[in-house]
């Protein structure tokens, strides 16, 4: 990997045989590398041997050269990768999570027992359709967000790029499975999301770390919470399984996101953490605006209550869900090194941590 501090070294390692045939045959920086498969097969971790496992703090290589390949001088840039610092994108668990994503792959059209879905009372079915529509759209936003960032990441950090490719693929599956569920039982698609947080995620421009906070600390914990409650209150084996499988996927995404943000803050310092805390003040206002919209919560209340007749009882469970979500948001922010507290939380969101909000506001 060509880094600033390795420039001199690489000058001495460039191709020596420009004219002759087979001149490339000796062009390897670490000939004799022999990675061996472990218990989980031959993983990305297993091949991070010697120089191949040395992840540079910064890369000026703009040619897609694989990390540790033999550098050829005088090649023009192929791309400008704005994310070329390790602290911009890295997470130590990215390679492991990549392999896990592949091992735990599943198929929406085959693995889900769709035939276990039986006719439901109309309001209950439509509520499930509304929840499914919301979750499918959250997946779409995840796709659009990562799709526009992954190509800006330097190839020195291929573990992150390949992990994000799995997340893109997961997000496509999540969109697919929830759209399928909405239409699998005589239902329809519901209302689109209010869009405040979707807009924040898509329009984020300050950096991948900032975007990752929206994606993995603000949105993903809500998605994960919805999956967990979805599994707990599933109306049939098909829903039970699809929520369970989605939980696995989402937990993996969050694991990368939290690891990255924590790493970025550790590397870049407390000033960055303070900036991120301030950034979220406005975003929390948007989240509160979005959470005042009753559509998703009423749909959940009908599902949790088991029907329209028990919507009030169901709303008590929704209140718990919201409380859990906001609590988790605070906990995750603190874990990564951002000083989020109940005291500096947006006042509207703080109300969800208190009991007995009125139905429209719950």
């Amino acid at each position: 990997m060509r880094t600033t501090d390795q420039d001199n070294e690489n000058t001495n390692q460039t191709s020596v045989d420009e004219s002759g045939s087979l001149g490339w045959m000796n062009d390897s920086l670490a000939w004799g590398t022999k990675a061996r498969p472990g218990k989980k097969g031959l993983t990305l971790e297993d091949i991070n041997l010697g120089i191949y496992g040395q992840v540079p703090e910064q890369s000026e290589e703009m040619t897609r050269m694989p990390r540790g390949a033999f550098h050829v001088p005088g090649l023009p840039r192929l791309e400008f990768y704005p994310l070329s610092k390790k602290s911009d994108i890295w997470a130590n668990n990215a390679g492991t999570l990549y392999e896990e994503a592949i091992q735990r792959r599943w198929m929406a059209h085959v693995d889900i027992p769709w035939d276990s879905i039986q006719t439901l009372p109309r309001e209950l079915e439509l509520s499930m359709c509304q929840l499914s529509t919301e979750l499918a759209q959250q997946a779409t936003i995840e796709t659009d967000c990562i799709g526009q960032w992954v190509g800006r990441m330097n190839y020195a950090y291929h573990e992150v790029k390949t992990f994000l490719a799995t997340e893109l693929y997961d997000s496509g599956r999540h969109h697919d499975v929830f759209r399928k569920r909405a239409l699998a039982n005589g239902g329809v698609l519901g209302l689109e999301s209010p869009g405040h947080i979707n807009r924040r995620i898509i329009e984020s421009r300050a950096g991948w770390t900032e975007t990752a906070i929206y994606l993995y600390l603000l949105r993903a914990p809500l998605t994960l919470t919805l999956y967990r409650y979805g599994e707990a209150y599933a109306l049939n084996p098909a829903e039970k399984l699809l929520f369970r499988l989605c939980i696995q996927d989402k937990a993996r995404h969050i694991a990368y996101g939290m690891s990255h943000i924590r790493y970025a803050i550790t590397e870049r310092g407390s000033d960055v953490a303070l900036g991120l805390l301030r950034m979220m003040a406005g975003v929390e206002q948007d989240l509160y605006s979005e959470m005042k919209d009753p559509v998703l919560w009423e749909a959940l209340a009908i599902i949790f209550g088991g029907g329209l007749e028990n919507i009030s009882a169901g709303m008590e469970i929704v209140k718990n869900l919201k409380k859990n979500y906001i609590t988790e948001y605070i906990d995750r922010m603190r874990y990564v090194g951002i000083d989020k507290t109940i005291e500096n939380l947006a006042p509207g969101l703080r109300s969800y941590l208190e009991a007995d909000a009125p139905p429209g506001e719950s």
Binding site: W24, Q130, G151, A165, G195
Partner: protein, 347 residues
């Protein structure tokens, strides 16, 4: 089973308790049409068929919002194949079958693996960007491209693993990135341009090589890598052919433009400019291939002869794709690159 009257009572009770429930009425009236619209007004990332909210901010602003720009036939079926045929480079390759190879063969395998580790993810970076700019109303296209992104990341990974698993190492980076005349895959800003270059020509050339993996492989692990990558690559090529076929029927006015993309891509295919075709003359990978195909550095001449047959096969399969896409008139009307015709007739 509740009666209609009971339902009405529940509804009124809920309304009295302060619930809105207006959304339930909207859902009752929603009709989902599965046929994709010719144009999409979706600027909010909403799921196709869902109910728009007039107040939602229009942050989507997808540049690709017409079916004609992105669609392809049978993409739903192709997507299911993508999903069904996923595999793991960690566990589905019999790595234990790797045995020590002569240094020249190992170096050639590693050089080829370095090439693929460098170029394969381009076909993830670029489609990734396009997915994010395509209306979700054309979700089948997005899903197929997401499948490709996943495959390409696995290709980067499996070839890196191969280079580092058998006593070799990563070799020289691709040095044939210049001499590009016209547009390149990376630079494409229009989906049909991207798909023509990437799927029909670029991926097609690599597909031929992967299909001939038996000739380059020296153990079961390498055979498995090439075989599985060939399956993946065939799907990527299919995305392009299915799109081109659709374009021919829906947008005949764009055929000349597509032929221009093919003019440029054929030039690169034959010359090796841009470093996309590892079998092209002037590519250092073609030497590596000659070593592998011939059976050693002292049999490079033999290997070069086989490589000529490989190039011929690339052209034959390319012509077949043109035929399948309905663009094979260029083969007979004198437009196709002469060096491709030469390769076609060479043996």
């Amino acid at each position: 089973m509740t009666t209609t009257t009971q339902q009405r009572n529940y509804w009124e009770k809920a309304k009295d308790a302060g619930f809105d429930l207006g959304w339930l009425n909207q859902l009752r009236e929603n009709i989902v049409i599965e046929e994709e619209a010719e144009t999409s007004d979706n600027l909010t990332g909403r799921v196709s068929g869902s109910i728009p909210r007039p107040e939602a901010p229009k942050f989507g602003a997808y540049p690709f919002r017409t079916k004609k720009e992105v669609w392809g036939y049978n993409l739903r079926k192709l997507h299911e194949e993508f999903v069904t045929r996923q595999w793991s480079s960690a566990t589905d390759i019999p790595w234990e079958t790797l045995e020590e190879l002569p240094d020249d063969i190992e170096a050639a395998e590693c050089q080829l693996a370095t090439f693929f580790a460098q170029v394969e993810f381009v076909a993830a970076d670029v489609p990734g960007r396009f997915i994010a700019t395509m209306s979700p109303d054309y979700q089948e296209v997005r899903l197929a491209l997401l499948g490709q992104v996943m495959d390409e990341s696995r290709h980067l990974d499996v070839f890196r693993k191969r280079a580092l698993a058998n006593g070799g190492g990563l070799m020289r980076m691709i040095d044939s990135v210049t001499d590009v005349v016209g547009g390149s895959t990376d630079n494409a800003r229009e989906y049909t341009e991207l798909s023509t270059r990437l799927h029909i020509v670029g991926e097609g050339n690599v597909l031929t090589l992967f299909r001939l993996g038996e000739l380059m492989a020296y153990n079961d692990a390498e055979k498995a890598i090439y075989r599985r990558c060939a399956q993946d690559e065939a799907r990527h090529v299919a995305i392009g052919v299915l799109h081109a076929r659709y374009m021919k029927e829906s947008s005949p006015e764009r055929m000349e433009e597509i032929h221009c993309y093919l003019d440029e891509a054929e030039n690169r295919q034959s010359s090796g400019a841009g470093g996309e075709n590892p079998a092209a003359r002037n590519m250092l990978t073609s030497e590596a291939l000659a070593v592998l195909l011939g059976g050693g550095k002292d049999k490079v001449d033999e290997g070069q002869k086989i490589l000529m047959a490989v190039r011929q096969k690339q052209v034959k399969e390319y012509f077949q794709r043109l035929k399948s896409a309905g663009m094979d008139d260029r083969i007979t009307n004198g437009r196709v690159n002469p060096s491709l015709l030469e390769a076609y007739k060479a043996l």
